[in-house]
């Protein structure tokens, strides 16, 4: 595979997450396309494949990976199916992006770990996506710089509006807290050595049998303490927050304003240095929308009329600037094409 070649991907699992990853690979990001999709539900696999040029549906992961055009595998099937798919990918030495969890329990995870070691090199990236969130990345960079000294504690918050039917106490750990487990290990670069769970009297909005909220406490190998409020039926929306308490300051994310610092007698955050940083995503979105519309044979967005009107106001503005007076803007009548 040349550096410039498009990455050809097989996606295992075409449920909600899998279908979203198919869309992402084909329509959002650069440099990849989906050539095979796998689902034990053959109809679902076929429906997804039908929408994509050159994409074949499968029911067996190994069969999809046998396609010689496939360069890499994205696994988004239920956790219990991961081990088999991972081992099939290892058999063909294919790189894998595996949605979390790697596998549902330590014993099976250990088998995967050992299989990858037999390959002699890493093939798997696990889908802990918070490590790619802009706010968590900034917090991680701050901690790695050590600007405020060593981190001593983390205070996490993890709130969901509500839970789907059948959500259990164990799922609160496996599906929700698992993110704080990874965030803790990644931010602090330490293993977690002990866990406590405190269960207050549950909310009246908690489904029968669910102990919600809970307070989860971690200790790390370095003696740090991490607390996590998990409240999965909070009713008001989705909120994820993390405050790192360091020797000389605290840094908090999750309040909708980037990284919030307490240090050296001040609270606050950083100002974007320039327009590139501020509007980088707007530029990306602008060009993506233009490409998408053009591929559909359409034209949208700001028109020549908008360009003309801006030029006319600029001209008046420069005159107003020079004279200090009110200057009227003159425009031709708006042509039909731009109404």
């Amino acid at each position: 595979m040349s550096q410039y070649a498009t990455l050809v991907v097989a996606v295992v699992g075409t449920g909600r997450m899998g279908a979203d990853h198919v869309r992402r690979l084909n329509d959002v990001i650069s440099g990849a396309r989906v050539a095979a999709v796998v689902d034990i539900d053959a109809d679902r696999a076929k429906r997804v494949a039908d929408g994509i040029e050159g994409c074949t549906p499968h029911t067996d992961p190994a069969a999809a990976m046998a396609d010689p055009s496939v360069d890499a595998v994205l696994i988004a099937s239920p956790g219990a199916a991961h081990e088999e798919a991972l081992l099939a990918a290892f058999a063909r030495d294919l790189p894998v992006l595996c949605e979390k969890p790697l596998t549902p329990d330590p014993a099976s995870a250990l088998r995967v770990l050992e299989a990858e070691q037999r390959l002699g090199r890493r093939r798997v990236q696990v889908g802990f996506m918070r490590r790619y969130d802009a706010d968590y990345l900034k917090l991680k960079a701050l901690l790695d710089q050590g600007a405020y000294g060593r981190p001593l504690m983390l205070h996490n918050k993890h709130r969901n509006a509500d839970t789907p039917p059948g959500f259990t106490n164990a799922m609160m750990i496996h599906d929700s807290v698992v993110h704080e487990i990874d965030v803790t290990r990644w931010l602090l670069d330490e293993e977690i050595t002990a866990v406590r769970v405190l269960r207050p009297a549950p909310s009246g909005h908690a489904p029968e049998g669910l102990s919600d909220p809970q307070l989860i406490l971690f200790e790390t190998a370095a003696g740090q303490i991490v607390d996590t409020e998990l409240f999965v039926n909070c009713g008001f929306g989705y909120q994820v927050g993390c405050e790192a308490v360091c020797e000389g300051g605290t840094a908090r994310i999750g309040d909708d304003h980037g990284v919030f610092i307490n240090a050296a007698g001040k609270w606050g955050g950083s100002i974007t240095p320039g327009f590139v940083e501020r509007f980088e995503e707007a530029y990306d979105r602008q060009v993506q929308r233009w490409v998408d519309a053009t591929r559909r044979g359409e034209v949208e967005g700001p028109s020549c009329w908008d360009g003309y009107a801006a030029a006319a106001v600029c001209e008046a503005g420069v005159r107003a600037q020079a004279t200090g007076e009110r200057v009227e803007v003159e425009l031709v009548e708006r042509p039909a094409l731009y109404r």
Copy 2:
């Protein structure tokens, strides 16, 4: 061009903005590639083209557009060169994304406007990228919904840390305020009918001859008043803000916390409803990084060890949850592959 075909783009201008758009088209967004680059500096065009498979350098826009594989044109040359490039694109009926300004003055803009009308359909999108910024989009949506009544005033802020050598008062309008001109027209959906510019005693940090800051005042056809603080040597960073004052509330962007509302006795904003909205960009970034690394033959990101450790902590967590006790986490020794 089929709906699924990659859009083949010629980029006119390979300076800072042009080179950045080349990178964006090839490496960031989905569905496009650059097949031709144009610059009056032949060496610069060649340097940019050399880094891209199947990309030809040109010094003449019309020659680049003559390549029959070219589907569309992105113009990022200096404003004075836009008219010629736009007319060349019109001659071949090619869709265009034209960086702002459309052209530097109303007379030339009018010529472009007339030429496009002769084509009988829109071919041009002008690069007012703020219309694609997440915050401005939310503000626009709020105003269009009319949740707080009609907008009566806008208060804009536009601050730069400093200006490059040779920056003039006229450029403060043409290069800086032009964004507020477009934002005003777009947010309010009204033409600007008059302009005033008030010039306070300048900052000691303003370069000789530059009247900085300035207060620019617009009136719209609907009688709205818009003020803009322009301060291009503020020293502390880049800040863009807009507060819309409506009949029943105000909505402000630019303070690093999304849209800030005053209405009905409350200040504040909205909570993200779910993890998809909150982490959408993290998912995109995760998969893009995986594809990029895989294309380079590398593996990075969370490893199988991270997956295993998470599974082990989850197992301990579920036990801690059930017993109310402190539960120690047991891990095998970390294998060499994951150190």
Copy 3:
């Protein structure tokens, strides 16, 4: 009058503001009492005086000031009545706190000014109370320190939920903008030399005939520009804000979080250095409530039971700290007196 003597005050005007000042002088602040109240409405004066030990009602300001026990005068009658009351106070050389406006127009103000000069020393403090607001005081201190260089512009906001019947455009200046006039002159320590008023198309919630909102623009003797959004039927509450744009940073008050600074690449504010600054008002309020209750013969607030329970939890806490274990708190049964 000795330094330790209580200041004996005559209050002129017993409407809403006047009655509130009577309460303030007697029950809130230290070192003063009201011995005379004046109102052209004799019944109203009597009703107010009846509630206060040793207080006499009057209908004529001069008669009240003739009481030899009166040390000072607080004028809170309508503006048109101020000149007469001020001159009566000057006749007896009494110090005056005069609610704003000093008088309603420059000609009468000039007469007062000349009369005070004839006394040869200042006797009057005008009631521009924003100069005593904690946030404005902090902003003033920042500007006086010059930490961010000279102030170049001020952006003011002045919003009221709604206006009483009969509120006019002229009252928007005389009753509302007058505060920004004083704030501008005080913060910048410069006279205002010119005024512009821009009137956008009014809100649908503005009463018939009222041009609301308005944008008021001041120029100062030093060439600074000050803009004020005045919106007196904004519907959502009362908001007052001021952002000072200085050569090297901006400082904003009015967003419910003290002074908000943009400077040197950071946004944010200061952290209170210690508990005295943080809880000073709580201490004042605590002791005032205790004195008030005790004077009424009552006991309220935290009880001995609260003190005992705190001691018991502390004891358990110290044990928990030493052992690392969960320690139960033991309390005697709660006595009837504390239920």
Copy 4:
């Protein structure tokens, strides 16, 4: 003692807190004066008494309380001396404001409790001053209204810049956490039934032997969980925060912007309804400053010149409003008296 009589107070303890309470009683609040001060250090008592008209120094609390003019007692001596002073006040049936702690341990507190019960009515208010803080009061009111359902958890933060020499782990509970103990009991209206203390690896800035920070966990009789981060050498200032997690929303204080709510899809707070609420303290401070200056024979604050200048700008403003033009402000030359 009549309802209108000044409350005559004996203050026991004239150290930092005691001297501050003397100042508060005499110069800040309304309706009280200090007639006796007590300190085992006779010189210190004398120095404090000397500054106050009609105030006698004592070394024995009982002797001070024997003064028949004394109406009430404020105890601000070290905690170990409280029991004796309280019993002396009970012997004379005097109302007491007792600084926290009531006494240093549950056994002595229980003796005081029993003594007060023998009086048959409450005589003591304990100085847990956070119950009088504006932010805590708002949070308490919210919880009592139950607007967001029952409170399930509290997250407290208590941070000090640093600790004085000799500060011990036990003092972290007795002097610092004691506030969170009272806040918890008061806000939740429940007793604390169990305590845990988790001690992370200490900060490098913690003095030898001090385990700083700590995480303190309370359980309440109703099954609520309360966590408190105590970090007394955080270095950056003093911060106290409390977030109440309720069944349908959270309410947080301590981030310098009043009460911050998450509920019903929104984050944010309340807007002050009117100028009285917004500027109440400014009015109090204005009048207090005026009374203080007048008692010293001085005049300060806004002058007649300020009143005149405001009137002149108002007049110009009304003209500018009517004409839409720039109107110059005319002032007489500033008289010497007002320079």
